[in-house]
């Protein structure tokens, strides 16, 4: 029989898939361009001080620093808290569990990673905020700290399962060699496997942080919603605001109008750049690990 090439010429299939690919790639480009274009008015009105102004009052002034600060703080906090748990459970699953048990844990984690943010938000407002208040003797539990803890819980499955993949990617011979050289299981893991998987582990963390930084609704419900940098600035038990929550609260009212709209878009642009940096770094590191 005569084998025909799959695409004898640039037929409809080629054009359709080409169109799909162009749309996919074009969407992100278009998003970025429109973010830049629509944020121009606020930079005209406020100058670059939009980025370090600390006062935001719709119709009067637009300073993004409290939101940028809030985003960095809650994400940083989530990072600190998620690291030991995610890495610990990834090491356990990858190095010490039998194949069957490992599959079960992985399946559960991947399922958890898909739980919608609003569910975490409800748990956050109903339980976590109250626990934080009572545990630390605060007057109120809606704080940056609460948001950070909630985010850590949310990204734990993502980070854990990606980190586990990175550990599994280290070839078995490496372990065998290390063990045959007389290293204990623990020594093998800590001194041989983990260092080899390091780029992949870092990538997992970055991807998780990307998700944390963009999370809206769960944070919105527990962060306090006030556009203010706490005094002193490291007081995490004070209420604050992050970028997605700010946009979520004001967008519908500002839709398409005035400097306020442009200011929200500019906030979006800042967020976009921060998340892109994290995600690109994460993907790069994971790619390098393979």
């Amino acid at each position: 029989m005569n084998m025909k090439p799959m695409f004898p010429e640039r037929g409809p299939a080629f054009w359709l898939t080409g169109l799909a690919a162009t749309v996919s790639a074009g969407t992100i480009g278009l998003l970025f361009v429109s973010l830049v274009v629509e944020s121009v008015p606020v930079f005209k009105a406020e100058g670059v001080s939009f980025l370090w102004g600390t006062d935001w009052f719709a119709g009067e002034s637009y300073g993004a620093l409290p939101m940028i600060y809030g985003s960095l703080m809650v994400t940083g906090l989530a990072l600190v808290m998620v690291l030991p748990f995610a890495l610990g459970s990834a090491i356990l699953t990858s190095e010490f569990l039998s194949g069957r048990a490992r599959l079960i844990v992985k399946a559960a984690m991947e399922l958890l990673a898909g739980v919608p943010g609003i569910l975490y938000g409800l748990m956050g407002i109903a339980l976590l905020a109250v626990w934080v208040r009572d545990l630390f003797g605060l007057i109120d539990g809606n704080t940056l700290f609460t948001a950070g803890v909630l985010l850590a819980v949310m990204i734990l499955p993502t980070v854990m399962t990606l980190a586990e993949d990175a550990l599994r990617a280290v070839p078995g011979e490496t372990r065998d060699t290390a063990l045959s050289l007389g290293l204990t299981r623990i020594e093998t893991v800590m001194q041989v496997v983990v260092p080899q998987a390091l780029p992949g582990l870092a990538g997992a963390v970055f991807l998780g942080l990307g998700r944390a930084m963009g999370e809206t609704i769960a944070v919105m419900l527990v962060i306090g919603g006030i556009d203010r940098i706490p005094q002193p600035w490291f007081d995490l038990f004070a209420p604050g605001q992050n970028i997605p929550s700010k946009i979520g609260r004001e967008a519908a009212e500002a839709l398409g109008f005035d400097v306020q709209w442009s200011a929200l878009i500019a906030l979006g642009l800042v967020l976009f750049l921060m998340v892109m940096t994290l995600t690109t770094a994460g993907n790069f590191l994971i790619g390098k690990a393979r």
Binding site: M6, G59, A252
Partner: protein
């Protein structure tokens, strides 16, 4: 060739999907949407204060007019006015008046207001604060609390706890009316605030959860855990009761408005007429608000910009 068939199928499916997407993008979007020939959709959104009345009434109205479908969404008064102005909604809900700025912005839309009820905004506190003795505050005291000059309940005869001051998103109708009363300026700042909430539900929940919060809330949303306190004026204390709202003694009163572009027409008019009918007004009362027989019955409301 085995591969040619799936490719064809894929192409066909893709084409169908694409056609569907194109149809979605170019579907008729202006004004009241007519889907089948018979179903009319009325899109309603805005103030969470007006919402309970409208969703209640919408249910009844739809059961009586099966050809009309009413979608009701939240967002706040700012969103309601904005959505009506941009014609994203057929009816915008607003628990405040249209501001001069908004009037200017939507000058071309010819926004019309229909008043369907009246409501009062009360200063509310957590029940623990109320039971510890704070049952009324003067206007000046509330003002100082929102300015951050009074930060402890003991300063106003309450329990030994700091005050958690709850503010609302700047565009919320309740906030406009409350700030207009306190500071004579509907968008006054509240530097004393610790938390910012959005909808009535959210504010109610956060005050109920706390044992030392103060906030602003429509009287219809007051309950056992979120208690409305009186406003003290010299010796006189006026509590936010429906009686005091009805007879005009309670000072923070407002209209509950439906915003439309131009005079309401067709199904939208039918629905608004229903809300103004005896039955509709009963639902206003059932929702905890004060009915109006005609828009002109309302004399004095907070935040009114008409001269």
């Amino acid at each position: 060739m085995p591969l040619t068939v799936p490719v064809k199928t894929v192409v066909l499916i893709s084409l169908i999907l694409l056609a569907g997407a194109v149809a979605m993008i170019f579907r008729p979007g202006e004004g009241t949407q007519v889907f089948a020939d018979e179903t009319t959709v009325i899109r309603v959104a805005g103030s969470t204060t007006v919402l309970p009345i409208v969703s209640r009434a919408a249910e009844r109205f739809q059961s009586r007019h099966p050809s009309v479908k009413i979608t009701v969404n939240t967002g706040g008064s700012g969103v309601g006015i904005h959505g009506a102005g941009t014609r994203r909604f057929d009816i915008g809900l607003a628990s405040r008046e249209i501001s001069p700025k908004e009037k200017h912005r939507y000058a071309s839309s010819d926004l019309r207001t229909t008043v369907i009820g009246r409501d009062a905004v009360a200063c509310v506190v957590s029940s623990e604060v109320f039971h510890a003795g704070v049952q009324a505050l003067s206007k000046q005291q509330i003002r100082d609390i929102y300015l951050g000059k009074i930060t402890h309940w003991q300063q106003v005869g309450g329990p030994d706890r700091p005050i958690i001051v709850i503010d609302k998103e700047v565009h919320r109708g309740t906030r406009h009316v409350f700030m207009q009363y306190l500071f004579g300026k509907s968008n006054a700042r509240a530097p004393g605030a610790r938390l910012v909430t959005g909808s009535n539900n959210e504010e109610q929940a956060k005050i109920a959860q706390s044992n030392s919060a103060i906030g602003m809330l429509s009287v219809a949303w007051i309950n056992d855990e979120v208690v409305g306190i009186g406003i003290r004026d010299g010796e006189r204390v006026i509590h936010p009761t429906l009686d005091n709202v009805r007879n005009g003694r309670f000072p923070i009163v407002r209209n509950l408005n439906l915003i439309t572009v131009g005079e309401p027409q067709g199904a939208v008019k039918q629905f608004i007429d229903y809300l103004l009918s005896e039955e509709g007004q009963q639902q206003v009362a059932d929702s905890g608000y004060i009915p109006v027989q005609s828009p002109h019955a309302v004399s004095r409301v907070a935040g009114s910009h008409s001269k």
